[in-house]
Symmetry: C2
Subunit: 354 residues, 2 copies
């Protein structure tokens, strides 16, 4: 297993350090792991003047999987657009063809109190959002800010999905639904946008190959409502890049503990980039208080999706459940009656539970 | 006051009928109101073969304000795209230049239990979402489904905002914020989309004329999260058409009683179309069980924004509060211990309370 480690910015290095300790424990137990650490985002800009430099590109292209902390920080906000940390993230996704973004939103029973929703609405919540990650208005050309024909300045972007882009993400989503509760909801705005009308048409066509999966369709505005009204109606959701960006963040917040949620971004051969759903949290960076569990759970996803090692994935996930049951909590998920630990303290607990 | 009445489809006619009774009561009390009823959406298609026919256009163009029920129904889903009810709605918005969509999301203390969020998270919730309604990817050209240069089918749309479009909606939002708690949050995706980077630039420029309003900026994915995490941090939100579509529906569901929420869509001279936030609910149409309060409250917004009759707006809103306090509830907001009433029964109660 050749794994590239990208600590990134803000709390990235400290949470990734805890995941690396988990990896080292697995290695000590006999797993053949090789890691290389390279920068991405602001850290890469600081070192190379680029958010996705060649040195990083060379390493991640030949790695089997990538573990990323998070990118971004206020000190980079004034950089020219193409030097900003987020551009590094968009560039690595596009460069490696990581079109399949899996974002589970699931509630840990031990953390049910953290949700802003009523317990009965979110108890047992377990949604998988499949977001297309290398197409849509994120990458569509033409785009820019210019003076239009009427002589006025305007900003513009292009939403675009080709048939093959939709087919391949549909395949990922249907296959995941097959392994879960066999319900797939495709989210679009087909009543207004031709791009998503086309999306819906292709999804319906792909569905013919998955007769065991129950397919439904929902407009994005309604989906944003239904996630609040009754999130447990969903099993797997598939949608485009921008709608997926919005809905997966909304869904993750339903659990109240975004510090717990991992994500995977896969290419056509299950090579993947794994990262927590949360951001780089510059305000608490360097204080050893961040929650490393989403990053550690991202490692579990890596074992499952890239290396097909369900056994190791389960071992990591069980260790995380154990520490939660033991009552260990970082500050973001702390409640009276539990034991507050630091970022590295949580790492200690997980390594011990492994 | 020349008011065009557009009952529309589904439950539209029955909820509008109750609002018209309120209007008639005001007329009996001396208000100079003149109404004309014309079809829109599916009802218009049935009668004229078009969702926004000339007969309707002629009436609404010369009216001071328009009261709409809702449009859409399953029987119209198979019509060609340009004949569908939603196209009638988009067409009237564009034709009348109704660019300023105001969508309040507020929690009635009497209905606090209806929310899926914990009481302390939503108690006292009172957000105003200002959504741009005649630009963005809803109307941007070019758009369509075609075979691209690579010989593959694709769907595409164009997100587009010109400087003047952003300036005029910014003005609406800042002025509303001035009359409320003087906090405005502009929602964009400026880290990825040039169109919204430009949006942000213009909003910042307009802000110079409103030094008393505290302006903040938030990415749309974060806004979708923050609405769930801590909705009371917001006072006024301003955003584009598609982000506003998604966020206003999410925000409306935070209250748990979308049957209570009105909306206004205004042109540059405060001419407006007023409609409930909810849809045409074909499943309960014709059963006299729908909640007419959002439509009646839309009438209150009409008095406030188009006719500058704050006194009448307040009178209507007070009547609605009174019936809630009296314990009257339609099925959608019914709880044990309250008195269930029909759609027309709720109309009776409001007229009596007026
Ligand atoms: C940082 C940003 C470019 C990114 C995105 O919009 O995809 C982030 O929000 C995410 O969801 O991973
Ligand atoms: C029906 C549809 C075209 C419309 C929209 O997307 O604007 C609706 O969702 C709304 O928000 O009024």
């Amino acid at each position: 297993m050749k794994i590239a480690i990208l600590p990134g910015d803000g709390i990235g290095p400290e949470i990734v350090a805890q995941a690396v300790r988990v990896l080292e424990k697995l290695k000590a137990d006999g797993l053949a792991v090789e890691t290389v650490t390279v920068p991405l985002g602001g850290a890469a800009y600081d070192q190379y003047g680029e958010p996705y430099p060649e040195a990083t590109r060379d390493v991640v292209r030949t790695a089997d999987a990538i573990l990323l902390g998070a990118v971004g920080g206020p000190q980079y906000d004034t950089l020219p657009r193409d030097k900003r940390p987020e551009r590094g993230l968009l560039a690595i996704r596009k460069d490696l063809g990581l079109f399949g973004n899996l974002r589970p939103a699931m509630l840990y029973p031990e953390l049910a109190g953290a949700s802003t929703l009523k317990p009965e609405v979110v108890a047992g919540l377990d949604i998988m959002i499949v977001r297309e990650l290398t197409g849509d208005i994120y990458f569509g050309q033409p785009r820019g800010i210019h003076v239009n024909d009427a002589g006025e300045r305007e900003g513009f972007n292009t939403m675009r999905y080709s048939e093959s882009e939709i087919r391949r993400i549909a395949k990922v989503a249907f296959e995941i639904a097959q392994k879960r509760n066999k319900k797939l909801c495709s989210v679009d705005k087909a009543n207004v946008l031709e791009c998503t009308e086309f999306w819906k048409e292709i999804i319906i066509d792909v569905a013919k190959q998955y007769p065991d999966v129950e397919l439904s369709h929902m407009y994005v505005d309604n989906a944003a409502m239904q996630l609040v009204r009754n999130p447990k109606q969903f099993d797997v959701i598939v949608t485009g890049n921008i709608f997926g960006d919005i809905l997966s963040d909304e869904a993750s917040m339903l659990t109240g503990s975004i510090g717990m949620l991992p994500s995977a971004s896969l290419d056509a051969n299950n090579k993947g980039l794994y990262e927590p759903c949360h951001g780089s949290a510059p305000d608490i960076a360097g204080k050893n208080v961040a929650n490393p569990l989403a990053t550690i759970l991202s490692l579990a996803m890596m074992m499952r999706y890239t290396f097909a090692r369900e056994d190791i994935a389960k071992r990591i996930e069980t260790a995380v459940q154990t520490v939660l049951r033991q009552g260990y909590r970082t500050a973001d998920i702390y409640e009276a009656g539990t034991q507050k630990v630091s970022c590295s303290g949580m790492g200690d607990a997980v390594v011990a539970a492994l």
